[in-house]
Every structure is written in C-alpha cells, then in structure tokens.
Amino acid sequence: MNRIQNCFSRTRAAGRPAFVAYLTMGFPSLAASEKAADTLLSSGADILELGVPFSDPVADGAVIRAAAYAALAQGVKLADVLALAARLRAKHPDAPLVVFSYYNVLYAHGLERFADEAAAAGVDAVLVVDLPLEERDELLAVLRPRGLTFVPLVAPTTSVERAAASAKGLEDSFLYVITVKGTTGARAELPPELKDRLATLRAAVDVPIAAGFGVSTREQAAMIGEVADGFVVGSALVKALEKDGTLHAEDLRYY
C-alpha cells in the first residue's frame, strides 16, 4: 500500500474523513509555505496538495490566483516546489504529498525530468487541473514507472460512467470531486444535491473520494465527511495566510 492508501485506511479506521489541505507554494513566501505546510501536517491535515503557481490559472478563483501571481513575482519555480516537498517528506514520512499544477509548467520542465525529480523528492501523486481523461496518458506514462500516481478530477458535469473511467487504473489514488460548477474559492453554501452526488460516486468507484472547491467551514467539511472519504480545503487556507503569513489554530479546525 502506498501512503495515500495507508492514509485513507487510517482515517476510515478512525471514523473520520481525511483532511486534504491545499497551499499555493511560495505564497506569501516559500518559507511561509513550508511553515504552513508543516503546521498543517503536524496538526490535523492528512494529505497536502502543493500548488504550483502558474501565470494563467483558469480554474482558480481570486484568492488562489492572487497567491499564484504573488509567488511568481518572487520567481517561485517548479524546482522550488519539489525541493520544498523533499524537505516536508523528511519531516513527515507518512504524509501523502500531491503536486497540484497546470499542465504547461510540467510540460515545459520536461515530463520525464519532472517525474524523476518528483519521485526523488518523495512526492506520491500529481494532480493536473487541465489534463482530463482524454489527454492524461502522456503524463501517466512517465509517472507510473516511477511509482507515482495521479489524482483524477470529477466535476458536477461528469457522468458517473466517466467518473468510473477516470478512476480506473488509479486504485492507489483518490478521486477529487469538484463540488461546484465554477472556479476554486469559498462558497457560503454548497449545492444541495452534493451529498447525494457524493454517495452515488462513492458507490460507483473503487477508490476513496475527496470533495473540494468551495469548502471553507467545519460544517461543510462535516457534511462532506458524512458521505465522502475526505474533504479538501484550499482557498480558505490561502486566504488565512493573507493576514500574517501564518496559520493559526482557528485556521485548522475542520473536524
């Protein structure tokens, strides 16, 4: 079993959902990201998504976009994100680390080179926002031989059959279920049909499912936790870092 599978076994045994945390690497600085990631993994987060800043973040809302631009303004590169992953790996040997990126950054780096470096850094999986089922084989071909897995996305518009096809062959990963039609960012209310949707998807696939986009409160996380294996918090954490670059106890209470 890999770290992701172990993680979901643990949280399931504990009767709680996995807390998947997203941070844009390099916001407000690489040092602050590292400290925040360390804080998260030491105080409740189960899986960390390391967001790679990109100049054209079409899937992101205002908070994560601003964070990406701020990181890029400091010259943060994919190599910095992987170096940071390696340092986190040394401190947190069991925590699943997911590189969360747009495809062009990985493509420009060279897919094989990226996969080599990610594997060496102790990364477990890669999530690419703009790499759907139809296009992912090129990346999977370099990830799989190096023991890396891939996190497929499922949107509100995705059919159950397509979700199952996306999860197929990635049983060592988890399915990231996008809760809303829209970009990343906190929502006061999640769609009323979300619980039924998650239950349907969970019954249809053989991999754990985690739901994200719009999740910013303990109540939302709890609601998702009733029917899914995990919840993802991203923009709310990035937003919390806007204040003083540090995550405080109240920023971490999601279960």
């Binding site: 950054v105 996008i178 039609k181």
Partner: protein, 397 residues
C-alpha cells in the same frame, strides 16, 4: 490523426467541468454540420446580412508602384461589422440557438470579435457579455463603444498583461461557472477541440470564395496566399481554400512587435515553442519555466501568446510558412494601402499587406499574391496616430 488533434497539437487540455459541455458541443456541431437546413441558414445570413460574397480587389496602384507580382486583396474588411470575425460568430450563434443556450460570452482583443459577437447576439436576441483586457479596452475604445451600443456588457480584465489571453482566461472561468445555459463564442482557431475545427469551418468561406473568385477573375490560383496570424482564424479561413493546391504557398504573418530579438512581440510560431494553454497543445510564448509571457504588438488583435493548433501543425509539416512583420513595417503598409488604394486596413491585416509588399518586387509580373484583408482600420486611427507620435517616421512607399 487522433480526433481533435493536428499531429501532436490540439486536444482538450481543459478543466474537467468543461469536458461534458465540450462533448455536447461537438455532437451538436457534427449534427449541424451535416444538416442542410443549418448550412442553408448560415449561407443565407452570410449573404443577406453580412453582404457576402466579399469581393477580390486588384491593388493596381500598389502593384504598379512595387513592380513585380500582382497584389490581390480578399476584402473581408467589407463584411458587416468590418472584419472576418462575423463569419464565425454567425455560425456559433446559430449553433448556440440550436443547442438551446440562452447567453453568449466571448473574449476579444482588438474588439472585432467582441463587436461581431455583440452583433449576432442582437440579431438573435440573446444577452451577451464580452471579456476584454483593460489594456485593449483603452486602446480600442471605438469598439468598446460599439459593443455597448449593441447591448453587450463589456468586462475589462485587469489581470496579467490585461490583453487577449487574460480576457480568454476570464471567459473560460465564466463558462466553467455557467456552462448549463451559456455558449462560449471563441473568436479564433484556438481553444479545446472542437473549437479549432469549428471556427476553421465557419471561416473557410473566405478561402472557398477566394479560390473560385481567383479562377473566375484571373484564370489561375494565387502563387501565394498571405494572411496575418494572431490566433489565426482569418489565416486558416483563407488557407482552407488552398490546402489541397500544392502550388499555392501559404504564408502566415505573425506580429513581430518591436522585433523578435527584443522579446517584445506576439510571434508564437516564429519565437515560441510547444506548450499547453487554453485547451490546446500548440506553440506558445513562454518562459523556460512554462509561464506564459505577456505579448506585445501595435495591433491588439494579434496580441496573443498562442496560435491555433492547426497552424502549429502546418508550420511543422512545412505546408505553410510563418514569418514575423514588425510594428514599423505594418504601419508603413497601413499607410501604403491608404495612399495607393484608398483602403484603410486594420493594423492586424496591415501585417499581411506588409509581407506582400516585401515579396512582390522579387516576383514576376504574372505572379499573384492573394492577401486576406481581414478587417478595416477605422478602429485603429488613434493607435496609428499615437504610434507615429512615439516612433521615428516610417519610410513612405
């Protein structure tokens, strides 16, 4: 070739939320394409509303001045709304209506596609929202006014370089959030499949007409077909008529801005390398780290860091050649067409005219250079005057 791909280019590199809407679009488009009633309505609107066919004009005085190949202009500038963009927006609006979509959104650079979308939205009675970089809103004020006059809402985008790419980012975000009832009218042959193929099909009327008109009027095909390339919709529309004519050289003219060497340009093929943006794998202007660069060109409509994937493929296979023309050359060609032919061309199209001016003197008098005059230049008056005020005088032809 894999469906939706042009060799290694094209594809559907886009957020999962849009994959099902893209499937629906693809199915609806395939069905419409095969439906004679759809095609008939499309042709009827092009004829009775746009004023097609657009004429071929022999640029007699310009040709005589240059000595050499004859320069012939395909007059897309005479279309209703003043550019080739409307060919495509009519096709997409018909499709939107057929699919039961209630709302049109679009991105625009120079504003010509925004105007063309606002126009068809008014024609079909649909609400329309246009995303436009704030830099372009400032430099294309007449088109912003036209869009508003036509009832569209214009959203200025302040992010990035605040030009076409940033507008497209925001349009895609709108589409992700509103894909149930919204049709995204993409203005160029970029974007995820089926957009590059669909936009090319709607624009291919340019090349199909031009080919027939060449044979009727000159009794031969052109030696070279020349068009400017930002995203590349007018160029692919022209090329589509001649792809199967190996004797016709296809020439795409990219915006060289201040010169490729300066880095301040928008020539994705001449100065970029393959990557993934806005749904397609194609040539992009980007850093070594895969961050997309802000582009520069005197013409807002060419100010885009990517290019349609079919152009990337045509460049790699050598079927078409792509060359840069810089700002000064484009402005000189703008002047020349004004003075010698009484035609004020769009700055975008002036890039293609400039390439023809370069080539004509080196070719025999029986050769023909067919230039796609993709738009008229009324929108560019302020830009040309401002550019001239800020730069050394361009040599008059």
């Amino acid at each position: 070739m894999k469906k939706g791909h042009y060799g290694p280019y094209g594809g559907q590199y886009i957020a999962e939320t849009l994959m099902t809407p893209l499937r629906e679009l693809e199915a609806a488009y395939e069905e419409a394409k095969a439906d004679p009633a759809f095609q008939a309505e499309f042709r009827e609107i092009l004829r009775d509303y746009v004023g097609r066919e657009s004429p071929l004009t022999f640029a007699r005085r310009l040709t005589e001045r240059l000595g050499g190949a004859r320069i012939v202009l395909k007059r897309e500038d005479l279309n209703h709304t003043g550019a080739h963009k409307v060919n495509n927006t009519i096709g997409q609006a018909l499709l939107a209506r057929r699919m039961g979509k209630k709302r049109l959104i679009a991105e625009t650079g120079a504003g010509m596609h925004g105007v063309a979308t606002a126009t068809v939205a008014a024609l079909f009675g649909m609400p329309c929202e246009v995303y436009m970089g704030a830099t372009d809103v400032a430099r294309q004020a007449p088109n912003v006014a036209r869009m508003k006059m036509l009832g569209a809402t214009v959203h200025p985008i302040e992010e990035g370089g605040a030009t076409l790419k940033d507008a497209m980012n925001e349009a895609i975000r709108d589409w992700i959030a509103n894909c149930d009832d919204t049709f995204y009218v993409i203005g160029t042959v970029a974007g995820p499949h089926p957009y590059p193929a669909m936009v090319r099909d709607f624009q291919s009327v340019i090349g199909t007409e031009a080919r027939r008109q060449m044979l009727e009027k000159f009794g031969k095909l052109p030696d070279q077909a020349i068009a400017c390339v930002g995203g590349g919709s007018n160029a692919i529309g022209l090329f589509a008529g001649f792809l199967d004519d190996p004797g016709v050289r296809l020439v795409g003219v990219e915006a060289g801005g201040k010169g490729i060497a300066t880095g301040e340009h928008a020539a994705s093929i001449c100065g970029g390398r393959p990557g993934v943006l806005h749904g397609s794998k194609t040539y992009l202007l980007q850093t070594d780290d895969g961050q997309i660069l802000d582009t520069y060109s005197v013409s807002a409509g060419l100010d885009y860091p990517g290019v349609g994937p079919e152009h990337a493929y045509l460049a790699d296979t050598g079927r078409a050649e792509y060359v840069p023309v810089d700002d000064a050359e484009a402005v000189a060609a703008f002047d020349a067409l004004c003075r010698y032919e009484g035609i004020i061309p769009a700055l975008e199209s002036s890039h293609a005219v400039a390439e023809a001016i370069k080539r004509a003197p080196h070719l025999p008098g029986d050769a023909i250079l067919l230039v796609n005059l993709s738009g008229r230049g009324d929108k560019d008056m302020d830009n040309v005057l401002a550019w001239k005020a800020a730069n050394p005088p361009v040599p008059a032809l």
